[in-house]
Subunit: 423 residues, 2 copies
């Protein structure tokens, strides 16, 4: 490890080694507990800073435009709508207050009230999602799927390197980590079946993704350039785009995925801001096909985020089944947002844009069971001795993500979802 170039920031809040929630991170979320109604907080170590309490006490007094109840609405949308100058400043103020030598909060009588135990809090959806879009931006994933379902020699469709392919998904069924899902039922028709059949999906899968959340609104007819795009992005969450492969395979022509996807998508509840991720900015993969001018971008817009997926069978230990990285994505977030709005499609605060499955180049870096077990032909062995081609009832799927550079760690926590039997 090279010597840190900046001096380390430390907090008076104990931050366990390998905690995702360091003083460099300070992600925003919405929580409640037995005592407190839903409210906005910032995570640090095993604590949550109750922003409503700080606001009541006047810690944000220099932000005169901050409404009295801004942290109490049950979602961050109104807060995010105030714009980056405000949201960045709130995070900076909290960072300053948490520094080990800052006594303002540390020695304040409301410290006990302002610092909530994360373990006793229930995390809720951080934003109200207006519209949700899912991209398909990993070349490895698109190639793997094309190879399995179409033709290995023409795995990528002709449009893939010209447009960040995407489609609209279901906003209503996006849920935070910890909320169990039921195995979906539906129609499927395997190649060997003469007629479609109905029942619980036999091929329930996860998809390892990240999603960004927009923090600004556009009007219909307006577009966002790649140069402007990051100003419109508030932050990121981990995103498990649950998929029922058998339902999807039968339904998806010609209009795309529908019931194979819309039964649930699970997210990590802490929004890691773009500012916190800035340290981990890297160049993305070289795009070997020239893109149209509106998709060109300068600067680096990829992020070095380590990702992993584990499967935990009921009453057993978890087994890590995938190790990937967000920096592998062929299309970056500025290209995605520029493409999404180039036709004048309007966006809103709280809209969510998932990356598509984040598969890496090696078989252990594939971001779905479909690819990891290669359409069921290479079952994965779990530590309890069982095998998995897809996800079984009682399994909990756990996705984690973090960045590490020298002494600086910024992470997402996890999105963990248990699969219950079909209703």
């Amino acid at each position: 490890m090279t010597k840190p170039e900046v001096s380390a920031l430390n907090s008076w809040v104990p931050v366990p080694k390998d905690s995702d929630f360091t003083i460099y991170n300070l992600p925003f979320g919405v929580f409640k507990n037995k005592r407190l109604s839903p409210r906005a907080g910032i995570a640090i170590g095993d604590k949550i800073v109750d922003l409503a309490v700080l606001h009541d006490e006047g810690f944000f007094a220099d932000l005169s435009q901050l409404p009295h109840d801004i942290f109490l609405g049950g979602s961050l949308n109104d807060f995010i709508s105030l714009g980056k100058p405000v949201t960045k400043r709130v995070r900076e103020i909290v960072q300053e207050l948490l520094k080990e030598d800052n006594e303002a909060l540390r020695e304040h009588q409301i410290r006990g009230k302002a610092m909530v135990n994360r373990k006793e809090a229930q995390m809720l959806m951080p934003v109200k999602v207006g519209d949700y879009t899912d991209f398909y931006s990993s070349i490895e994933h698109a190639t793997n799927v094309g190879t399995m379902f179409r033709d290995p020699d023409n795995a990528l469709l002709p449009n893939w390197k010209h447009i960040p392919v995407g489609y609209h998904g279901r906003a209503s069924s996006i849920i935070p980590s910890g909320v169990p899902i039921h195995r979906p039922k539906g129609q499927y028709k395997d190649p060997n079946m003469e007629l479609p059949e109905f029942g619980p999906s036999r091929r329930l899968d996860f998809e390892l993704e990240l999603a960004f959340i927009t923090g600004r609104t556009t009007k219909m007819g307006d577009s966002i350039s790649t140069a402007e795009a990051e100003d419109f992005i508030f932050g990121f969450v981990l995103f498990n785009d649950w998929s029922a492969r058998d339902i999807q395979a039968w339904e998806y022509v010609p209009l795309g995925p529908f019931l194979g996807k819309n039964f649930a998508s699970s997210i990590s509840p802490w929004i890691v801001t773009l500012e916190a991720l800035d340290t981990f900015r890297v160049a993305g993969p070289k795009q070997d096909t020239e893109v149209l001018p509106y998709l060109k971008c300068e600067k680096d817009h990829a992020f070095d985020i380590n990702l992993e997926v584990s499967i935990q069978p009921e009453n057993q230990k978890a087994t890590k089944v995938c190790t990937s990285n967000f920096k592998n994505m062929y299309w970056n977030i500025t290209q995605q947002l520029a493409h999404h709005t180039v036709n004048g499609c309007n966006i809103n605060v709280g809209d969510m844009y998932a990356s598509g499955t984040i598969s890496g180049p090696t078989p252990d870096s594939y971001g779905s069971m479909l690819e990891l077990a290669w359409k069921g032909t290479k079952p994965l062995k779990l530590e309890d001795g069982s095998e998995r081609k897809f996800i079984e009832d009682g399994d909990t799927v756990i996705m984690k993500g973090y960045c590490q550079k020298d002494h600086i760690r910024v992470g997402f926590g996890e999105v963990s979802t248990k699969v219950m039997p079909a209703k």
Copy 2:
């Protein structure tokens, strides 16, 4: 015309002959004018009944659960959420008040305040749309598109008669009648092009659809049966699913339409209730392929709704280019909603579900320019002497819909949208 079987209802409000907004209809909408902030109303003739005024005056006093400000929220979502027993009763009370021999409102001092001129009102979005789904339920449309783009001998894909194919669309860009749109820009690659190009769409099209709006919420994991489905449906609007055919053709594999659709969808602003449409219930087309049990339904769930589309070039008269009927739809609304939720996908109040293009069996009943001008090979002649393969800048597209049975007429008014040049 056969003799009416029920005695005619007349109102003390003058209702012009051929008005869509008869005393049998009484659709709900949200309006404002120079004097009034956004509020809920019911249309009758050339007037709008200001429901907030009636409520203030105690006309809904027997509905004790009706909050004081229920008609002032700027959308109907909260009102609709109260459930059909309440929304039906409000409509019945208004119907009773509007009967020609009822003096309660007619002779009341607040009559002038309660009856707003429609001409002076601006209609707004009637609901806040959480999620929007577009189906593909006309066999004629699916066959036409399959014939043009794939193979006339296998125009319908294998899944089409087994599932009401649908996909998720963009909720943010649904706009009410009267709001102009800009021609979208985007990528296209015609077969004769070596590389994709970028510019204003050269093939801007309308799609004639109806959309239903749900009035109840389900929990994730729950399903709605075909028998229950109508209880979840509040009413219908006309729906113009704007489409850029060149953008769509290049982007839609493998994940479906995206930028070719999400730049705008236009709706008629008055929600015609399921109760108002009950008189026009008919049997739908016979489904010649047996469906799975969850898609079977008893009773008639199609509706005899006459539909038409006109194109009005700038400063010219409108030319009717399509005459269709909603009763042609192969898949009905109960099958659509049962399918949508069979996997446990949760729905919300205000969600919108468009039918897919409503094409009839004859060439003049096709519900899109793509079909009417058969991919540009049979341009339509307009009354001003110009020709159309697709929609041109300055054109206004006007969709109308109405039901007529004996003396009873129930209509939707119109959705009218002018196309401005690309920004």
